[in-house]
């Protein structure tokens, strides 16, 4: 899809710590630990790059890794105040409450808290023990429905909470249905055990029978028929779920295998796409996730490379619009590549493209690599074209200060009536 007029670069990317992540559980170097401690949900990525003790490239690498690992989510907030587009809303802060809404603040907090835990294991979502029986599941499900069903706040002014409640309720239903399904539940148990180490106890599925002393168990076995066919509550639905589950797993596996093949062939974009689909179909599989992290970065590189090639050939054909679009796409993937930003800005400026966009790019290049006189010169030239002479002068002077032999900067400065740095001192007429 066509990217809008560079809106992404006019926005700030703010890393957030994912709620529920315990930093103690990660293995970090002291420098990384320091960086992690600076992530407070308000400091933008660009600022984090300038914290001392750890270089900007290292910051980028860490943050990107953490994003891929799911430790950190990035929220893009528009430069316009107030408009914060949350890319991943699964973070909760008490700052998100809003007393003007038609939901009591304590209920809002409860909702935020619940939302922050949506990725927890299903039994935790329902707030029941891992070996809870069907009756307890149902009770918990009904109680949560009464508490958090979107209808409870029908017609009220719920702000962002309406959407949250929908997400939450969807998850509650999912948890209830899957835990009610013996096959799905066994599957969940296995992945929990794989992830957390603890093996499920034998009584997980049928607590009543194995937990009882021998005589009582014999009695229970006799009573069982009297309880009737009620025991498997929704076999059809169960079989539906387990069928769907099996189907999903099979598909996940197929995608993963395709991903591995692409990986072996060095086609990273394809590999990442396939593995991502595998995860979409089987989100519990830790191996898929691990693999995804590995291929994702290289995929982005590959994609960026491909986009740059596209830009080159477009430039050869003098199709500047296509080239600019390719640059724009590439910048999305490599937001910290000063060289790339410079080229894109220069192209936009020289071909009479969007000057605001050119300015943003040039500024980003300056910010990333402030010791490069060329970036300052370009920014100055863009300002000049936009008629912002004071700014232009400042940047062109900075360029000359870094590289006195920059004739292009000198000429530009002359054009706007400013004198090159050296001359001013010598002339001294003012």
């Amino acid at each position: 899809m066509r990217l809008g007029n560079g809106s992404a670069t006019q926005q700030e990317r703010i890393p957030h710590l994912r709620p529920g992540v315990d930093p103690a559980g990660l293995s970090l170097t002291p420098a990384e630990g320091y960086l992690l401690s600076r992530i407070d949900g308000t400091t933008p990525w660009t600022l984090l790059r300038s914290i001392g003790g750890i270089g900007p490239d290292e910051v980028d690498r860490c943050l990107e890794r953490w994003v891929a690992e799911g430790v950190v989510t990035v929220v893009v907030s528009a430069a316009a105040p107030g408009a914060a587009a949350v890319l991943d809303s699964s973070h909760a802060r008490s700052g998100d409450t809003d007393p003007s809404l038609d939901i009591p603040v304590e209920v809002q907090l409860r909702i935020l808290d619940f939302e922050a835990r949506l990725e927890s294991p299903y039994h935790e979502i329902l707030g029941v023990a891992r070996d809870a029986d069907r009756k307890i599941l149902r009770k918990a499900y009904f109680a949560l429905s009464r508490e958090l069903h979107p209808d409870r706040f029908f017609r009220r002014n719920t702000g962002s909470f309406g959407k949250r409640l929908e997400r939450i309720f969807g998850k509650i239903v999912e948890a209830y249905e899957l835990l009610s399904d013996p096959t799905a539940r066994a599957e969940i148990e296995r992945s929990l055990a794989a992830a957390g180490g603890s093996t499920p106890s034998a009584e997980t599925v049928q607590p009543a029978e194995t937990a009882q002393p021998a005589e009582a168990a014999a009695e229970a076995a006799q009573q069982k028929p009297a309880a009737g066919p009620r025991v498997p509550r929704r076999p059809h639905v169960f079989s539906l779920h387990s069928r769907v589950l099996r189907d999903r797993k099979a598909r996940a596996k197929r995608f993963f295998e395709a991903g591995m093949a692409s990986h072996a062939a060095g086609r990273w974009v394809e590999a990442a796409g396939s593995v991502r689909l595998a995860i979409a179909f089987d989100p519990w599989n830790a191996i898929y996730k691990e693999h995804f992290v590995a291929v994702q970065r290289r995929a982005q590189d590959e994609r960026a490379q491909r986009l740059l090639k596209e830009a080159e050939s477009a430039l050869e054909l003098r199709d500047f619009k296509v080239a600019l679009r390719a640059f724009d796409d590439a910048i999305q993937l490599r937001p910290h590549d000063a060289e790339l930003l410079h080229r894109a800005a220069k192209l936009a400026w020289m071909t009479g493209g969007d000057l605001r966009q050119a300015k943003e790019w040039a500024m980003a290049a300056v910010e990333i690599d402030p010791k490069q006189g060329g970036h300052h010169r370009l920014l100055g030239q863009v300002y000049q074209a936009a008629g912002l002479e004071a700014n232009a002068r400042r940047e062109l002077e900075a360029a000359l200060a870094l590289d006195a032999s920059d004739e292009e900067a000198r000429t530009a400065l002359r054009e706007i009536g400013g004198r090159p740095l050296g001359l001013r001192w010598l002339g001294g007429k003012r």
Binding site: K139, F142, H149, P229, R233, R234, P235, V237, E270, Q332
Partner: protein, 524 residues
Amino acid sequence: MSRVIGIDLGTTNSCVAVVDNGQPVVIPNTGGYKTTPSMFALADDGKRLVGHLAKRQAITNARNTVYASKRLIGRRFDSPEVRRALELCPYEIVEGPNEDPRIRLGEKVFTCPEIAGIILREMKRVAQEHLGEPVREAVITVPAHFNDAQRQCTKDAGKIAGLEVLRIINEPTAAALAYGFGRKPSDETVLVYDLGGGTFDVSILEMGDGVLEVLATAGDTFLGGEDFDRRVVNHLLETFEAAEGIDLRSEPMALQRLKDAAEKAKCDLSQSLQTEVNLPFIASDANGPRHLSVVLSREKLEEIVADIVDRTMETVKLCLSDAGISQQDVDQVILVGGQTRMPLVQERVADFFGKRPHKGVNPDEVVAIGAAIQAEALLSEDQKLVLLDVTPLSLGIATYGGHFAKLIERNTTLPVRRAHVFTTTRDNQTAVKIRVLQGESDTAEENDLLGEFILSGIREARKGEPEIEVSFDIDTNGIVSVSARDLATGREQSITVNATGTLSDEEIQKIIDDNELYEIQFKE
């Protein structure tokens, strides 16, 4: 705050209720009846008649009297249901610009939502007159197996009637709500068997703790009391033809009289074992006028409709298996709909479940009462009741080779949102067309087409590379919506929707304006 009403918009009869001082009550119309015929007519002098007034003149004005239009609403003109109605209805059905069936009365062509809107407006009027205050909001019921388009059209009908529709709920669910009202909270599994004039639904629910959870629902699209009537009409036609040698099938007036007489005989036979159908001067030929006079026994009636009743029991079994329970697990069976007054229906149900159906509810009123209870519950401060309903039909898309890929299975709890990732099948493809369907067949063609969506502006790339996430939502009304997002950039993808059978906002507004105009004329 003004009062909210619950409306049961039935195929043959409609009913309105309200919660008054915490007690749900049915509102009688001016004639003192608790239900109003879902009929609309354009009289010779151009007057519009609704309800009993329309029914009274139906025989003499068959071509301009609309009944059972609920069977047409939200369907495509080329659907089998509409084709069947084309053969049977004395009024004229024409194809509208949205491939929807419309009804021509005199000069004017009415859309189905418009007809439903006129009936809803009448129900609103009944309520307003009784309550002595304006009514602006309502909960309206639909058969559980109604699809997205049928629900959307019903909602539009509410709008046309000047009502804000708080919620569309399923008729059997409403019945269960009414049954549960005021009962001591205890866990119960309830099966609702709803056989009305034009539709048949079964729903299985679990209730307890202020929560009503629908486990499964199943229905038969084209089955209701009118099918019983049709069997009786056929029987009368054949008997008459055998005796008099005259085929009445091409006589609209005679047919209308036969239809009324058949229904009356059918209802009589719920009370008595035998009845007589007398239609003097039904026809005439060279030998003078002919009279129809046939004696019909309950036994004969049961014989000619037995297979219809059997069909309903098949649907009951399907629903049980979807809910994953057996008939012994059902604690209560609730009969809803006028046709369940037939002793044969009651016997079959009692035999199957091994217990008598619940006696405490009025089959004609229970649905409207449930709607009123739900309206009240939605707006009350301390939400004491939550309804967890399901989608009756699987939702999915047409895939390569004309297959149907289900994305949301039927009987999934609402509201629900499912996201799926789509990609391109050709290099540099910039648009993808997605056909959204509802139904159970594996063949796309055999399901109901809800609409076509075109995702456009996809970044040019190698095939299979773009990842576009399409989200399918079904809200608590059972109404579907779709949105899309480019995963690489997180940006919303533009979607063009071509919904079939439903009206655009402009069309609805135009109808509202037309009707307003008419209202003013009428009052002068």
